[in-house]
């Protein structure tokens, strides 16, 4: 029943202008709902539009299509009863902890006495007792985010929005804050009816949420929904927990890699495939890690992410680049070195450059294209604008810049061609 939902998001579409009449589609046909007593997680890689969606829900931005309703009323600007916790805390550095917490209440025009009483109660609840007169800069990251929570909780919001609230914190502090929050929520001590949590940390989502919505990027869409049927507090080491984590990994990689494979097959010798920036060092590093025991060339993605201390955001692009260069196969939740990948692992630096260069020529159409043009020209050089213009026929300006930047960094490692940034010139010569 739609009437009982705290929040309904239906068919929401959001684009950003890209200059010259172009538009970048960030969110496309997004649907979600939040019921009372629920924590819903939005999980996806950076750039998948999750934070944009959160800003739409908070009324900080407007969608180009679709509708958002909060308690049955359309959202047309910052709504009272929707409070947000920010990734970088967003505390006002010139206000003390108490003043920061009071700010939201002052905006409500409450009597000073009540403001003070409620602020102190919230500070107490979140465990900030004794820090009332401190300035944010005097606090550690974890304490600062506690202020962020207290500031949001004090206005007694119906919906609490959290935008990667733990990602700017170190591992221990983040865990400490998560368990505190889950405990307060479980004991129904928070004056909040529902929570939306944006994250790119899979385990965090499984640990805290009742439902997880997976976001795919370009454009951002809800690709699937996973219900986490585990009682709180949850145990990270339980087999069921791990099963959920695995399931999400597979969902998140399968779709991307499938698309990449499809693109590779369809767009053979096409330069329109956007390249995601991954440095050759990251690729070498992951290959080296994969080649040695206990993996011996094949690993479970969650395992290797944990082992290498990589976030999903960091691991997936590298894995995809390896897939693109055919140095590894990504399938299901596994990553497996190809024959080339294994040779790369055993090779010395010069051989590695050679393998990399050959792989670029064979698998990255843009690299091969630039090399061919440079070979054909008598001067063996070409301005950047030549390729940029060509790419912009196929993609947005920013994506074109990114793709060129990536191909330059790869070509430099493979010594396929060189690039002079001052003159914005591609050439075959090595710099003197």
């Amino acid at each position: 029943m739609a009437g009982t939902n705290l929040l309904d998001v239906t068919h929401v579409r959001r684009t950003f202008p890209r200059g010259a009449g172009e538009e970048l589609l960030v969110l496309d046909d997004v649907n979600l709902s939040l019921k009372e007593g629920e924590i819903v997680g939005l999980l996806g890689r950076s750039g998948s539009g999750k934070s944009t969606l959160l800003r739409l829900i908070a009324g900080l931005a407007r969608p180009q299509g679709g509708s958002l309703t909060y308690m049955g009323a359309p959202i047309e600007g910052p709504a009272q009863g929707v409070a947000m916790v920010f990734q970088s805390f967003a505390l006002f550095p010139w206000l003390t902890v108490l003043e920061n917490v009071q700010l939201g209440l002052e905006a409500l025009n409450l009597p000073p006495k009540e403001i003070r009483a409620r602020a102190l109660a919230a500070i107490d609840l979140i465990g900030l007792d004794g820090y009332e007169s401190a300035y944010p800069r005097e606090l550690s990251g974890g304490m600062r985010q506690r202020v962020g929570f207290a500031r949001a909780v004090v206005v007694h919001p119906n919906i609490l929005l959290m935008d990667e609230p733990f990602s700017a914190l170190d591992v221990l502090t983040a865990e400490n804050l998560r368990t505190d929050l889950v405990e307060l929520w479980g004991n129904r001590k928070l004056p909040i009816k529902g929570i939306i949590l944006v994250t790119h940390n899979i385990e965090e989502a499984v640990l805290m949420c009742d439902r997880v919505l997976l976001f795919s990027s370009n454009p951002g869409r809800v690709s699937s929904e996973i219900k986490i049927d585990l009682p709180q507090p949850r145990d990270r080491t339980s087999p069921l927990f791990e099963q959920y984590v695995d399931q999400i990994y597979v969902e998140m990689t399968a779709r991307r890699v499938e698309r990449l494979r499809e693109q590779q097959a369809r767009a053979k010798a096409g330069i329109e495939m956007p390249l995601v920036h991954v440095s050759p060092n990251q690729i070498s590093g992951l290959i080296e890690a994969l080649a040695v025991p206990p993996y011996d060339g094949k690993a479970d993605l969650p395992d290797i992410a944990y082992e290498q201390e990589l976030e999903v955001d960091e691991l997936f692009p590298v894995a995809e680049a390896m897939q693109l260069l055919r140095l590894a196969d990504v399938e299901g939740g596994d990553i497996k070195l190809t024959h080339m990948g294994k040779r790369f692992a055993d090779a010395d630096l010069n051989e590695r450059k050679e393998i990399f260069s050959r792989s670029l020529m064979n698998n990255v159409p843009l690299a091969a294209h630039i090399r061919r043009i440079l070979d054909e020209r008598a001067s063996h050089s070409a301005p950047k604008s030549r390729f940029l213009d060509e790419l912009e026929d196929h993609m947005a300006e920013e994506a074109a810049e990114d793709s060129l930047k990536t191909v330059v960094s790869w070509a430099r490692f493979g010594e396929l061609f060189s690039y002079d940034d001052d003159a914005a010139l591609f050439s075959l010569e090595n710099p003197t």
Partner: protein, 466 residues
């Protein structure tokens, strides 16, 4: 420091130095421009040298770079971006003095060097408004041209010396620089120079070993000698000043100058206050809108670079026309050129406000006066103070030109220290010029020490976003 006041003193000295009149005047003019620019830039360079990251310095030492090589490879590049920025600011001051010192009369000597400054002086004498407009137009074109040909390329070029490893959000670009970089001719022409510099590094042997660290006692002895010399020179100067003052000035002279100083100070304070009231909200409004900022910020910088004294005749002709009270209506001229510092500093401040802070304010429904009080004003406060300090210093300086102005045969007088110095200069009365400058310096220093400096530190401590 009211550099302007020094001109009149130095002019006479330079005139007596060179037998040919024009050469002496040219020297005086060059000296005035030099003082208005060089100290700023030297100070900026010195500041940068003090803040060279120790790891760069250590890396240089480990590779055995000698002092000469260290200077060109580490210290000079590091100091380049602030130096270029400072150069731009000093240029505006330079123009102010050029236009002023080209046509100056000290007592019976009247000097007119060929240049836009004398052109304006003649135009004022002849009450020729169209000539004034020509001068303004020319100035606009000149500033535009050197902005494109000199400063844009310099800024774009200096961008490579920024110490951060992250590429800047928006890389400054310049078509001139791009042209120069792509030109083979320039490459060929600069190659010998490059080679020479590189060769010069090898003149001294690489400095490995303990020599790199200077023995401390020697340094200390040098310091003592240096300070002793300074102390002797200082006390000699003070003694001369005392004698001079004792012989030529009375206490009532001092009282008069101090009283007039108060008048000028009231003008400066009131006008900076007014300018702040107008430009702070405007600056915040603009700074929070990136599209608008991109457009307004260069205009504000341009206006700050424009020598405001070229515009004075326009205002003065209006005051004469309507017969307004010079004590009030000449005052705005003091902030005509300096108010822009407030505007563009506030714009810069507002545009640094993180999106998340703005979102937080919106999310919690912070609006109206609460928003100005708790969010916007604190955010721009440190930037505002920086701008207001510059503006106030500049206004003191401008008072010497602004408090006395003429249009044809009419000369308008406001009561104030600036007028006091200007009048004394015209009469060639050095005792009062020196006294006026001393008193003005005193006011500027005291105002800085007891008001601006503490305010600046307070703003830095409390309001800076870190």
């Amino acid at each position: 420091m009211p550099i302007l006041g020094f001109i009149s003193v130095t002019v006479v000295w330079f005139l007596s130095l060179a037998p040919g009149r024009i050469l002496g005047a040219e020297l005086a003019c060059v000296f005035a421009i030099f003082t208005s620019q060089a100290w700023n830039m030297a100070f900026s360079f010195y500041q940068s040298l003090r803040t060279v990251p120790p790891e760069l310095e250590e890396a240089g030492r480990m590779f055995g770079l000698n002092a000469w090589a260290r200077f060109w490879r580490i210290e000079a590049p590091f100091a380049m971006p602030p130096l270029v920025w400072n150069m731009m600011m000093s240029m505006a001051g330079g123009w102010f003095f050029v236009t002023l010192s080209e046509a100056i009369s000290v007592g019976s000597t009247t000097i007119a060097l060929p240049g836009i400054g004398s052109y304006i002086a003649v135009a004022i004498d002849e009450r020729d408004l169209s000539a004034i407009f020509y001068a303004i137009g020319t100035m606009l074109v000149v500033i535009l041209v050197y902005d494109q040909l000199l400063f844009r390329p310099l800024i774009a070029w200096a961008d490579r010396f920024r110490i951060e490893n992250q590429p800047s959000e928006e890389q400054p670009e310049s078509w001139v620089l791009t042209m120069l970089r792509r030109s083979r001719l320039i490459d060929t022409l600069t190659a010998p120079f490059d080679a020479m510099i590189r060769w010069s590094y090898r003149l001294q042997p690489a400095s490995f070993g303990l020599r790199a660290i200077a023995p401390e006692s020697k340094g200390r002895l040098g310091d003592i000698v240096w300070y002793a010399v300074l102390a002797v020179l200082g006390s000699y100067g003070a003694w001369r000043v005392y004698n001079f003052a004792h012989a030529n000035l009375t206490w009532s002279d001092l009282g008069e100058a101090m009283g007039l100083g108060v008048l000028t100070m009231i003008r400066v304070v009131v006008l900076i206050g007014l300018a702040s009231l107008i430009w702070t909200p405007v600056g915040i409004y603009v700074g929070l809108r990136p599209a608008l900022t991109r457009w307004v910020q260069p205009v504000a910088q341009f206006l700050a670079a424009f020598p405001a004294n070229i515009l004075f005749p326009l205002a003065v002709s209006l005051i004469v026309f309507w017969d307004l009270n010079p004590d009030i209506w000449l005052s705005p001229l003091m902030v005509l050129g300096t108010q822009w510092y407030i505007l563009f500093n506030v714009i810069a401040g507002a545009s640094t406000m993180p999106t998340e802070l703005r979102d937080a304010a919106d999310n919690f429904g912070v609006r109206g006066w609460l928003w100005w009080k708790k969010v916007a004003l604190p955010c721009v406060f440190p930037y505002y103070v920086t701008g207001a300090i510059t503006a106030s210093g500049g206004s003191w300086n401008a008072s010497i030109v602004a408090e006395v102005a003429s249009w044809g045969r009419r000369t308008l007088h406001a009561h104030g220290l600036g007028a006091y110095i200007a009048d004394a200069t015209t009469k060639g009365d050095f005792r009062h010029v020196v006294l006026g400058i001393a008193v003005m310096s005193f006011y500027v220093v005291v105002l800085n020490r007891i008001f601006w400096r503490p305010l600046y530190w307070y703003a830095e401590r409390k309001f800076r976003l870190t």
